[in-house]
Amino acid sequence: MVCDTFSQHDSTIHRLDPRARIIVAFAFAVLLAISTSILVPSIGVAVALGAMAAARLPLAATAKRLAGVNCFLLILLVFLPLIASGPCLFRIGPVGYSREGFLQAARISLRCNAILLTFTALLSTMETSTLGHALSHLRLPQKLVHLFLFTVRYIDVLHHESARLRRAMKVRCFRPGANARTFRTIGYLAGMLLVRAHDRSMRIMDAMKCRGFRGRFHVLTHFTATQQDVVFVLASLTVILVLAWMEIR
């Protein structure tokens, strides 16, 4: 499916230890999410752009991803200042464009973009199964990791199944519209997907039992931290600590 847009390349970031990438990305994102100044998110965007360049993200796909969130942020930037109170930056007739509201909206936009870029550069650049294994190494409950890996495997299968059913509907001249018939048909489509998925899961369980599944996936890829990873973690921690200090000050 579309899951692997960013992981099929090679760069310095792609070669780093996935565990280190997860920890750094998460620490950085949490710091940005709770920062209340405008300076820290601005630096965050710059750092994230650096990470994006280092990961050699495909520009078009990244832009598309950012465009999605920024549409809504644009609405926020226009309207939040109009409804907020406080001193105005400028006035258009009776409506004032509040400075406070603008800062608020700008902060949200910067934070949102910086975090999204960071996650895209550090996390979306690993394959889904790698992410699952890294989470398992980071001591997430085994069952949750199993669930994650199983789900990743079957999203693809069911996506094809869904596409097939919808093709079949199209062939029979189904044209969706906002009417009761469409809602019923789509309900049946979702129901059919569920029924087939249920049957499939029963077969999977039987097949796995036949092969001696004992409730455990053996992790074959063990990650080893190299010198590069240590440098990456230390450098990122420095950046995060400096930003945290700026935030507190």
């Binding site: 999410a33 969130v69 973009n113 975090i115 889904t128 409950p141 069952k143 979702a190």
Partner: protein, 217 residues
Amino acid sequence: MHIADGYIESASVLAGGALLAAAGVAIGLRKTNYDRLPQVAVLTATFFVASLIRVPVGAASAHLLLVGLVGLILGWAAFPALFVALLLQAVFFGHGGLTTLGVNTLNMALPAVACYYLFRRAFRCNGADESRRSVFRIGFAAGLAGFALAGGMTASVLLISGNGFESFVGVMGIAHLPLLIVEALVTGSVVVFLRRVCPELLAQPGSPRIESSTTHV
């Protein structure tokens, strides 16, 4: 209906959401044995795929959420299931957020679990009244309740994080009303369909067949 990264700046809201979601996921995992894991995973994947189906609403189109249905089918397992689905969405599509993952999981999974407790009895007890209409009504109510609760929780999280979102929340609420009806109608049809084709799917989370299967593989 998920909150993106950066919208909530209150650390206590983020942390509280994460803690409650973690507790829910822990309960859900405890109630799901390894035997049932592939089933929960395949259903999680199905909900993920079904939420990509576009439904026309007037001139625009919307995505299904199916919160009520998730609850009816998975029960407490809705917590880990929705956690995984939201994590995948955030990492691989950039929809939703990762710092808000806890809050989003809670907003979707808690209504699902509520629907499970509210409506599971309706399916077991209405043996006498199996008409299509009454089954549809239960499904409709579950879809309505799930979506409304999820929306209400998302709205309250935005309000208590206090960013001056009050009027936005109002506008978004009104904009979501048509979606609420569509969600309820579609959930109703899904439930009618499942009741006819695969009734064991709906009564499952608490059914003795699954819970008592202690033969550990």
